[in-house]
């Protein structure tokens, strides 16, 4: 059981990074469907930077920069040029998939260098790892994974306890009102879309540098799309994103687990569960009309000052 739960935490981590990234993006009022592409860009650039230098920090840096750069394209097109967000996001996914596959063509099958493997071996946190059940599941993981906890905490504090977090939410709810109160709407959108992209990039890099620790083509395999759905599941709340990611991470490895226990359920049916669960969630969340569970009011709309 402990083993399964610990594996579920690992499986949830790329989802968590990407979901946090998309939450920040959507809080700025922009729906970026390019998460899958951004994760792949982060995965490959993180891997290439890590592989070539052997330095785990440079690997992370590569992923952050690649994710942010991909998101910058999206930001320029949808913020400055007001292109349709759905179509631009899909295009970003096409581009990112091609980019990762091309950049990675000479790395397929190569493992990460020993120095990185060592940097990302499980590191039990003193005291916390001694808690029964919770300790081995959550606190005997690697440093990269702990980074996702940190991102949840920092993200929550940022969104709900800081001035800029408040401004960001105002931009997503009503760009015009935020603008009128002196917030630089364009700047907020650009920085947060890029920060969101960087987090998506980290999610991809977690897969290539730590989880798989080897480069394989299309390593992200649809997780970016689940992250987009998880944002709704989490109703744009970083802490609920953690819970959602754990649930989906668990479901994604459940089939193998059941089979090894001798319970014969077709993996294809188990594979459907996360998607079916998302549908149930979005139906349920549309029924309860609590205000804090609703998407940012300006999500998907470009802001044009002259049209206020």
């Amino acid at each position: 059981m402990e083993g399964f739960l610990a594996a579920a935490v690992v499986a949830s981590t790329p989802l968590l990074f990407a979901t946090l990234g998309e939450i920040i993006t959507e809080k700025a009022g922009h729906l970026n469907l390019g998460v899958e592409g951004l994760m792949l860009m982060g995965a490959i650039m993180g891997f290439v930077a890590g592989y070539e230098t052997g330095n785990p920090l440079l690997g992370l840096m590569g992923a952050v920069l690649a994710g942010a750069a991909g998101a910058l394209i999206f930001a320029f097109l949808t913020v400055s040029l007001r292109a349709n967000q759905v179509v631009t996001g899909l295009t970003l996914t096409i581009f990112g998939t091609g980019f990762a596959s091309f950049m990675g063509k000479n790395y397929v099958g190569l493992p990460v260098p020993v120095s990185i493997k060592e940097a990302f071996t499980p590191y039990p946190i003193p005291l916390l790892s001694d808690i029964p059940l919770i300790g081995p599941v959550f606190f005997e993981q690697d440093l990269f994974l702990y980074g996702s906890y940190l991102a949840v905490i920092l993200g929550t504090l940022y969104l709900y306890k800081t001035r800029s977090g408040l401004n960001l939410r105002a931009v997503g709810e009503s760009s015009a009102a935020a603008d009128a109160s002196g917030v630089n709407v364009t700047l907020y959108k650009y920085t947060h879309i890029c920060a969101g992209g960087a987090l998506c990039g980290l999610g991809g890099a977690y897969m290539s540098l730590s989880m798989m620790a080897v480069w394989q083509e299309n390593v992200v395999a649809g997780r970016g799309w689940i992250a987009v759905a998880l944002v709704i599941f989490a109703s744009w709340n970083p802490i609920k994103a953690l819970i959602g990611a754990l649930l989906f991470g668990g479901l994604s490895i459940l089939g193998f687990r059941l089979q090894s226990m001798g319970i014969h359920v077709s993996q294809y049916w188990v594979d459907m569960l996360p998607y079916a669960a998302t549908i149930v969630i979005i139906i349920l969340s549309s029924r309860k009309n609590k205000k804090e569970n609703q998407p940012p009011a300006n999500l998907g709309n470009a802001y044009f000052r002259e049209e206020r």
Binding site: L90, I94, F102
Partner: protein
């Protein structure tokens, strides 16, 4: 003080619009060429090779048209939904479910005359594809559930379900262990005309039909009104739920028909790979065509040339498929960006206040 001033265009002549579009395409090719050069290939060789690979010989031209057919039919389906601002990104799943419906008929019904058989398959495909679109439409209409994620999730459920059938209950006993559904009998395969299956005729017919439906029928008009403003539609006494559901049945039905065409004429069986990403690509083509059925035809042909050209340079110049994907992305970025200059006027402000327009 803003140095650059942006204002909405009120009057854009057709000629000017065309010039901006052409500039955008040229710039996008230039940028794509630059990237190709950075990647270490010669763009002066790559582009002509792509065009040659797409339309150079009769066989290659046929390959291009084979790629254009599913793209056109799916784009038309997407168009009907997008007109209503219903973001149907579930084309991929609707294609697969359509293929499933058609395959069920093809594998289980015997002894019908061929035209009747094909018609039955097409109807079954439109129903199953339509149902797959009806589910999110129903929840959107009744509960306001977000359709973007709903349709997206249904893609994955369709993919898993068809995979399950292909690897499980529908696996052909004659396939010697390969996960493959039985090949259709000859009477379930679309006939060919001029060397290409008659999907091209169907696609052309549907272009005209959808154009007529959107622009010259009451239902089509209602779809456009709902897309413009649900308030207006409500004020005009339209039944918005009914409009959403009917247009999504049509949208899913058209995507389902793509599935039937691909299963019957191309794969000659049910296979999880037959949707081939057309459901996603069609979103882009439908959008680039500005949701105009006639324009869909031309955009899809151009896109098919890009796809087929990309396949060709893999073989002729050993350029990985990924490069073609990246080029697609770059070209699309530019075309998407150019839309801005069609809608807005950029003027230098400040002391250049009286200066000429930039774009």
């Amino acid at each position: 003080m803003n140095l650059i001033q942006i204002s909405k265009r009120e009057d854009l002549s057709k000629g000017k619009e065309r010039i901006i579009r052409i500039i955008a395409v040229l710039l996008s090719l230039l940028a794509a060429g630059l990237v190709i050069a950075i990647l270490g290939y010669n763009p002066v060789e790559v582009f002509p090779s792509m065009v040659k690979g797409a339309i150079g010989t009769e066989i290659r031209l046929q390959q291009t048209i084979l790629k254009a057919i599913p793209l056109i039919v799916t784009s038309l389906g997407i168009l009907v939904a997008f007109k209503m601002k219903f973001w149907n990104i579930g084309g991929e799943g609707q294609i697969l479910m359509g293929a499933l419906g058609a395959s069920y008929i093809a594998l289980n019904v015997e002894g019908l005359p061929k035209p009747l058989m094909l018609l039955l398959m097409a109807v079954a495909a439109m129903i199953t594809g339509g149902i797959w679109a009806f589910i999110p439409a129903f929840f959107k209409a009744k509960l306001g559930v977000n359709e973007t994620i709903f349709t997206l999730m249904l893609n994955y459920i369709a993919i898993k379900f068809v995979t399950y059938l292909q690897y499980g209950p529908w696996k052909s006993p004659e396939s010697q262990g390969f996960p493959k559904v039985a090949t259709f009998r000859e009477d379930a395969v679309l006939p060919s005309l001029f060397g290409i299956h008659i999907g091209w005729l169907i696609a052309l017919f549907l272009v005209v039909l959808v154009y007529f439906f959107i622009n010259h029928t009451k239902k089509g008009f209602e779809i456009c009104v709902v897309g413009e403003s649900t308030e207006t539609a409500r004020y005009a006494g339209m039944n918005i739920s009914a409009v959403i559901i009917i247009s999504m049945l049509l949208s899913g039905g058209l995507c389902g028909l793509t599935g039937m065409i691909q299963a019957s004429a191309v794969e000659k069986t049910l296979s999880v790979s037959l949707s081939g990403g057309y459901g996603f690509t069609a979103i882009i083509t439908a959008w680039l065509a500005k949701l105009n059925a006639i324009a869909v035809l031309f955009v899809c042909i151009a896109f098919a040339i890009l796809l087929q050209g990309g396949t060709y340079i893999q073989i002729s110049m050993q350029i990985p498929a990924a490069v073609a994907d990246m080029m697609q992305g770059i070209i699309l970025f530019f075309v998407l960006g150019s839309e801005f200059f069609l809608q807005y006027k950029v003027t230098l402000a400040g002391k250049f206040r009286k200066a000429k327009e930039v774009a």
